[in-house]
Symmetry: C2
DNA sequence: AGATGTATGTTATATTATAACAAGGAGATA
DNA sequence: TATCTCCTTGTTATAATATAACATACATCT
């Protein structure tokens, strides 16, 4: 099995990045994934993924519903939750529990236990690599408990907001 | 400043422990804390803490409301949420996001970034020491982000439930 | 007693999420 | 082509979780 190359964009959303390339690459990866797995990349799914990708801002389900309405889609809760479930199952989105909101995954494709840094001031969210997070999941699994999944959310201040607050 | 002695009971709820002693010690610690900080340990607060302590099972706010009703207290949502907020602020309870439920803290007194192990089968929750969790918060703080708080929840199977599932 | 501050009680409502079932459409099968 | 099957989308209703705003009670201090 070939090792995935490291992701170029958006590994840290707090930094500037080439977002056009980031957006296009993500969309293409999603399309490719759906073809490979024989899943239907419908207009609805594509649109929701686009919303999440647009500026990496976490979106609540009801925000997404509003955006869908504006785009001419049906907009009752199950519509959004179903698509979000799909995106999460396929590894192209995550739920941020702290915000009850959803973000596009920053390194789709590879299975991973994402760690998030959430700015309590601007609500921006960065998804970081396991190796950079200070987390050692192997160490976490004790003989008392079999860890299957880790939900890790750091809350604090991003660089911009730290600066503002220091003023 | 004197170093806190290690907690004797319930550091891992999946293990058997002397629960009578655990219960009494926790109650006393809570009483002592309230006296020291000049906070009122009212019957309501005491009762809710007792519920949480009873068998370490995480309780939802509405479960607690039912139990309060049975004990002759008022039982509209703010009643429970306010007491829970109080217990959390004082460091005697935590919220488990995965379960939308609340547990008594296993090592109250010392400030800590709790890490939880949550059994997806029986919903039991153990709070573990930072040093045992495989988490290094200092390492997690990058120059891009100032970590103030960490929410860490491991989901998996406790020993009993692993055994059952293997059958 | 009167003033103050905190805790509790009450009413209403906001926010987030799911259950259950109906309708539509693409592709396979006959 | 007709029909079957599967999956997606649409609809209606409701569950589950949480908070806002305001009223009352009650202790403590003066
Ligand atoms: Zn981008
Ligand atoms: Zn920020
Ligand atoms: Zn105990
Ligand atoms: Zn279990």
């Amino acid at each position: 099995m070939k090792k995935e190359p490291p992701q170029k964009y958006a590994s840290k959303i707090f930094k500037k990045h080439n977002h056009n390339a980031c957006f296009n690459d993500s969309m293409k990866a999603f399309q490719k994934h759906c073809v490979q797995k024989n899943l239907k990349l419908t207009p609805l799914r594509s649109k929701v993924f686009e919303f999440l990708l647009r500026d990496h801002q976490p979106l609540g389900a009801y925000q997404i519903l509003d955006m869908l309405r504006d785009s001419g889609f049906a907009s009752t809760p199950p519509i959004a939750y179903r698509v979000l479930d799909f995106l999460i199952e396929q590894g192209f989105a995550h739920k941020i529990k702290r915000l009850n909101a959803f973000v596009a995954c920053s390194h789709p494709g590879s299975t991973h236990s994402p760690t998030f840094m959430i700015c309590r001031k601007c609500d921006k969210v960065a998804e970081i690599d396991e190796k950079d997070s200070g987390i050692d999941l192997k160490k976490a699994t004790s003989f008392d408990f079999k860890v299957e999944e880790a939900v890790i959310e750091f809350i604090g201040l991003c660089t911009s907001c730290v600066t503002v607050e220091a003023t």
